[in-house]
Symmetry: C2
Subunit: 363 residues, 2 copies
Amino acid sequence: MPKAANTGKKAAKPAKQTTAKATADFTPEAGRRVTSYDVARYAGVSQSAVSRCFKEGGSVSPKTRDKIMKAVRKLGYQPNAIARGLITRRSNMVAVIIANLRFYPETLAYLTSGLNASGNHVLLFSLDHESEVDRIIDQIWQYGVDGVIAGAHLSKKQIELFDQRKIPLVFINRLYRDIAANSVCCDQVEGERILVDRLVAAGHRSFAVVTGPSDSVVSQQRISGAVERLADLGINDVRVIEGEYDYDSGRRALRELADGAGGLPQAVVCANDMMAIGCMDEARHQLGLRVPEDLSVVGFDGVMQAAWSSYDLVTVRQPMQNMVEAAVSMLLSRIERPDLAPEKRMFSGEIVEGCSARLGTSR
Amino acid sequence: MPKAANTGKKAAKPAKQTTAKATADFTPEAGRRVTSYDVARYAGVSQSAVSRCFKEGGSVSPKTRDKIMKAVRKLGYQPNAIARGLITRRSNMVAVIIANLRFYPETLAYLTSGLNASGNHVLLFSLDHESEVDRIIDQIWQYGVDGVIAGAHLSKKQIELFDQRKIPLVFINRLYRDIAANSVCCDQVEGERILVDRLVAAGHRSFAVVTGPSDSVVSQQRISGAVERLADLGINDVRVIEGEYDYDSGRRALRELADGAGGLPQAVVCANDMMAIGCMDEARHQLGLRVPEDLSVVGFDGVMQAAWSSYDLVTVRQPMQNMVEAAVSMLLSRIERPDLAPEKRMFSGEIVEGCSARLGTSR
DNA sequence: TTGTAGGCGTTATCAA
DNA sequence: TTGATAACGCCTACAA
């Protein structure tokens, strides 16, 4: 009988027989999870030995390790990550807050694989509207995540909360001008300016813009980028229609434009691709217009649907995979070294020269 | 000075002054999380009193509760869900395993909101291919989730593992004929049979099917549903092309059909909408065909893009929101009552009568 | 109603 | 290299 048999807190019931490896004696009660104590008892070592076996560079003799690992396999032991996290203060969980989940599914796919690759797990919080953040911020805190990646807008106060609690936070595509927050962005303004330049270079003179929801900061940046550049170029008569980021609101926006005083503009600049696609469908199939001959439509994002040949949308493709990788790596390094200074990384978007708009050469 | 001040494990450092509420004495060291001990010290009560305050129906006098809650707010205390889970054996986390995340984003959106509504959280595991399950199954186990929702295929052995460990598991859209596993499905076979019936009723006689990846069970069910019904109706000459569920493979499939011996069939049945959309674009924009006049195309799923007026796809809409709600409720009841018998729930899909195929009236 | 004390399953420390 | 033993932060009898 292993000498450390009664190391466990619950004293093992007296062995019925002295046969070594009488497994019945070591099998934990049904339904209970196998713990390191069970393994220790089975292998005839102390619980700490078992623990060390699962630690990088833990000092165990080959012989002991062998005995233990045999018991581990036999009993199907897996260390309890929750208990481990309690003492190491590392849960290996990262909270992902993401708004508009249904529009940007690949973002999340890249995030999970990027985080999984480094042994981290994703605790997902999705928002239908960017305003529900407060509700979930406490939850995040309660679960003791190691870090947070946010694809949603947080208030200054909320950001400071994470800062105080020393939980690293990295934003994707949310840029805070005067707050020292980590972020990885696509340059929304630059992208829109180039789009507008090229539309104007092609001769467009009357414009409309379709915004996202009013609480979307990304939409605000994109739209103001476009509008300000248009103003620079002497075009001030720009109709603004508010959308909801989705296909239907794109259609609705175009209908509104068509019905409104002044009629349709020559070009419609949409805050995202989904709405641009809606505009195109409304123009072509409802109003019988040709795109781009009668109307130019541009979007932003570079979602996969934009490349479908029914649309072939002119848009700005955000290098989302690069951005996500950058965000993950920023977060991981800040989990390792909490003293790293806040950093903002900005990627340029790539103009996708589709056929949904007439484009000139800028300059 | 509160009398229970040294209830905490680390004895409070001797107070510098006797002033009541000299907050300095109760403030935890910087960077450390506020614990229930900190609150207890600050409020001058025992730690268990604090704990009871956060428990439904915990007995605390109004006066004490008031004192405690004041301290809670002051110190910004939040119970540590990890530590709580260790003892209650309830993490309030549900693992979500989902394949093909980028094709079915709304599934996940519904899932998170459904689970959040009941105070549960989503630990997300995404798969690019259904074959990577083994890798993550241990992880799930380590995190002690209360249950699992799977939108991916698991082997019989893997399912039994969850059963042994008494972790409730509910599948979405994966049906296991001879295994007692919980599942919520859309009837893939029924949907395909009706589609095929109506295509045949409209006079189509030559068919091709485009499958999903070979490891996708859903694809197998859909395709065999269609092929078997065609055989029943006396149509045995059906070309089968393997796709990858995405747009490009749909285009590729149609090109293959067009290039292959025998030329194009009259109707193409695709295992999902994305590929059907690819087929339509290839037919119209590459081959100059009219859909549905020259070629009928049908899909399956009812994704939002299928309804876009450029496609107006004939498809089977899965009542995904209902399905997800059913899955969540099945899971939650099994977390409460682990003895509930395994159950399979099957929803009918709804034929969406778009314009991408000529349809007859069945029977 | 309140406080004491023990335990959840791990890791960390330290003496042997 | 090993094994006691003390945390980690919380919940829960049980006793007061």
